[in-house]
């Protein structure tokens, strides 16, 4: 693993994107007129001079080996003059100019195990994070749940017939690297037990004032340990956010018995129809049950299918629930409503029902 090193360059920034654009895009840059979805995963964009760019989108686990990337490159060479891209949801998109290449490309992708779909009114890939593969504060794994859920939801990836788009995201801790907070369905790893204080190492590796300031609920108090400044946790005040742990590794709160997953619903990002919305808590806790997290998988599927059955056309999950009201959502989904669902953070009062716009059936 060692080579002769070329001259050191810095601050060169990323390569210019123009280097990587196919000729049809260079020529029609900013001149696209409209598009059609030909079938799940296949789009065509028409330009002002009536040129056509085909896109074939394939699902991806995002965690991919260089071997797979080389395989993508090979397919791009074979069907797309070497041009391809990735999407903001980590799917791979092949950019074609020859219509006749579409079907052979799809056949190869499917054979490779990469389903084609995710366009239009469908579920797309699950935006997710590192989990046990790489992150120290993960309350659950990311890739394993994503794989298990997508195996179940695959038919909804390979369609364009859902009421609307559905965006699922997963984050393995409250830092929410997957930015799950505005997803139709969010799968969120959670800790449920206050951190322990590793009193020995704490003074060596952490700055105590920063640590105390990091706690949103002021649960961390200064204390002394063997004559040296330390901290203690007021367990009643802790709501397991792990922010202290992010700031100071001497406060671990990963815990096999109490870590798990919560499910959130009804967020969205686009401005289409309804303004962007946060996801709201649907299921406070499901256990970590690797390798296939059956409780999580079936909960997500259950919600998706409830939405399929009940939503009107063009209603994202949040728009659907807003129309029927949350009480009815809980009734239909048969999810028990608990104290945990009632907000008690900063703006909690604004979430109380302040009208009699209620449904009873």
């Amino acid at each position: 693993m060692s080579d002769a090193q070329p001259k050191r360059l810095t601050d060169i920034g990323p390569p210019h994107y123009q280097l990587f654009l196919p000729p049809i895009i260079k020529e029609n840059y900013g001149k696209w007129k409209y598009h059609e979805i030909l079938k799940p995963g296949v789009m065509v964009h028409y330009s002002e001079n009536n040129e056509k760019l085909y896109t074939v989108r394939a699902g991806s686990p995002r965690l991919i080996s260089t071997k797979k990337i080389r395989k993508y490159a090979e397919l791009a060479d074979k069907y797309c003059d070497g041009f391809l891209r990735f999407t903001s949801r980590h799917n791979v998109e092949f950019l074609l100019t020859k219509e006749e290449n579409i079907e052979p490309l799809i056949a190869e992708l499917e054979a490779l195990g990469h389903p084609v779909g995710g366009t239009g009114n469908a579920i797309s890939s699950i935006v997710h994070t590192q989990g046990w593969v790489h992150c120290h504060s993960a309350a659950t794994d990311a890739s394993g749940i994503v794989k298990s859920v997508m195996d179940e939801l695959l038919p909804y990836f390979k369609t364009i017939e859902l009421p609307a788009k559905i965006r699922v995201a997963l984050a393995c801790c409250l830092n929410m690297c997957g930015a799950v907070h505005c997803s139709d369905i969010a799968i969120l790893g959670i800790h449920r037990r206050p951190p322990r204080v590793d009193k020995e190492s704490l003074p060596k590796i952490c700055e105590i004032p920063n640590l105390i300031a990091s706690c949103p609920t002021a649960a961390i108090r200064p204390s002394q340990y063997q004559g040296k400044p330390s901290v203690e946790i007021d367990e009643d005040k802790c709501m397991f956010c792990a922010n202290c742990y992010t700031v100071c590794p001497a406060l671990p709160l990963n815990n096999p018995l109490n870590d798990g997953v919560s499910i959130w619903v009804g967020g969205k990002v686009s401005n289409a129809r309804h303004e962007p919305m946060f996801s709201k808590l649907a299921i406070p806790f499901l256990p970590n049950n690797p390798p296939r997290w059956p409780e999580v998988t079936s909960a997500v599927k259950h919600i998706v299918e409830l939405w399929l059955k009940n939503a009107k056309k063009h209603e994202r999950i949040g728009e659907w629930i807003e129309r029927i009201g949350w009480p009815k959502f809980f009734r239909l989904a048969d999810i028990p409503f608990q104290k945990e669902h009632i907000d008690d953070f900063k703006h909690a009062g604004l979430s109380y029902k302040r009208s009699v716009h209620l449904t009873y059936m």
Binding site: T10, G13, I64, R70, G144, K147, A272, P276, F278, R292
Partner: protein, 401 residues
């Protein structure tokens, strides 16, 4: 160089079946000739057995002269899994819009196969190319090869994070400004801020070409630049009729769902009261061949979105309701605004306080004063509903007597 299989992975193996592509297969395929990937398999199986992660933080690692771009990571079981005792990720600044040639991808693979785990994320949630796991001593060699190939590191820590954008004008008919062009410009303009953390906390840019916001910038960026227009939606009535003929119920599916309640359809022509249009995109999304954003295009600039910690999640909020974003980018006024914002945030922001939290703490009104913007009604969803107004002037009797 082939590596011998070291671990049984009964739990992970169960994730090889099923219709969705399997990350376990990816790790296994890398593990065939990469010791790091091989040890990762063992470690991950152990995590699956024990339901707990086995990673820890550690001292800051990185490449010379940069403060970000590398996430230092170590397993807490280094004896058992020596190949991943170090397992740092490198964040590599993707090309705007995530377009590649097969050649560029192979170059990246060559570098990574030579120096890392052979595992990647294409891409990370912020948008970077993620090289997933290598040792400290490999960082500099990788960096040299990357820069030689025209790539550079992305952000991490309290710096400008790797900006990202939707494909915009490259493939989308709705792009109201050149997202990729602007992203390339911003990334280069702020190379120093990107590589040398000097802010109270991280600072993300995301550029979407229209209100569909395909990079989720309103939810995931400290500075969200979202394309929009301010004149009339362009209408081709003939094509509207065609959509109607082919089964679209324009009243029910479009007019009744229009948040501006500004569309009427009489069976022959669509009428849009553009003065009440909210620029939500819904009608255009449903009839791309018939409708298009207006011709007077630009963007709105919003600030402050972020994940929940510490003060609760935020969406970005409007700072500039509309601005033209045309070349030469150097001449745009927004750089001064952005740099003013950074100045005051650097001066008065607390450690680990995102700019959105900072604005909430000092108050949007005061923030506007500080950065030199006039209040505009577009900045609020609604004016205050409490009477707790700090009137800034009052008369002194003395003055009047």
């Amino acid at each position: 160089m082939p590596v011998e299989k070291k671990y049984e992975t009964p739990l992970l193996d169960q994730l090889e079946s099923g219709g969705w592509p399997s990350f376990v297969k990816e790790i296994k395929s890398a593990a065939e000739d990469n010791a790091m990937a091989n040890d990762l398999l063992g470690l991950l199986e152990q995590s699956y057995q024990e339901k707990i992660g086995h990673w820890k933080h550690g001292g800051i690692v990185g490449v010379m002269g940069y403060g970000g771009g590398v996430i230092g990571r170590y397993t807490d079981l280094p004896e058992k899994y020596p190949a991943i005792s170090h397992f740092h990720t490198m964040r590599i600044n993707q090309p705007a819009g995530w377009f590649y040639t097969s050649e560029a991808l192979r170059t990246l693979c060559d570098i990574w196969d030579a120096h890392g785990s052979g595992l990647t994320n294409m891409h990370g949630s912020t948008g970077d190319i993620i090289f997933l796991g290598t040792r400290t001593e490999e960082l500099e060699p990788i960096f040299s090869k990357l820069t030689a190939a025209g790539f550079d590191l992305g952000g991490s820590g309290s710096d400008v994070r790797t900006p990202s954008c939707c494909c915009g004008k490259a493939r989308c008919e709705w792009a109201c400004y050149d997202t990729m062009g602007l992203t390339y410009y911003i990334t280069n303009r702020y190379q120093d801020e990107l590589h040398r953390p000097a802010f109270p906390y991280k600072m993300k840019f995301k550029m979407s070409g229209c209100p569909n916001d395909c990079v989720a910038s309103v939810a995931r960026a400290d500075i969200s630049i979202i394309g929009t227009w301010r004149d009339e939606i362009q209408v081709n009535q003939e094509e509207v009729r065609n959509y109607a003929k082919s089964g679209l119920d324009i009243t029910k599916e479009i007019a009744m769902l229009c948040p501006g309640k500004c569309i009427e359809w009489n069976g022959n022509e669509i009428q849009i009261d553009n003065s009440n249009c909210r620029h939500c995109m819904h009608c255009i999304n449903l009839m791309p061949k018939a409708l298009a954003p207006g011709k007077d295009r630009g963007a709105a600039i919003l600030v402050g979105s972020k994940a929940p910690i510490v003060e609760g999640a935020l969406l970005s909020s409007v700072l500039v309701p509309f601005i033209k974003l045309e070349e030469p980018y150097d001449d745009l006024e927004i750089w001064e605004l952005i740099e003013n914002m950074w100045d005051i945030w650097c001066e008065e922001g607390k450690n680990r306080e995102r700019i959105g939290e900072f604005i909430q703490r000092v108050g949007l009104g005061n923030f506007l004063d500080a950065v030199g913007l006039e209040p505009q009604p577009e900045m609020v969803a609604f004016p205050r509903d409490n009477p707790y107004v700090f009137y800034e002037e009052y008369f002194e009797e003395e003055e009047d007597q």
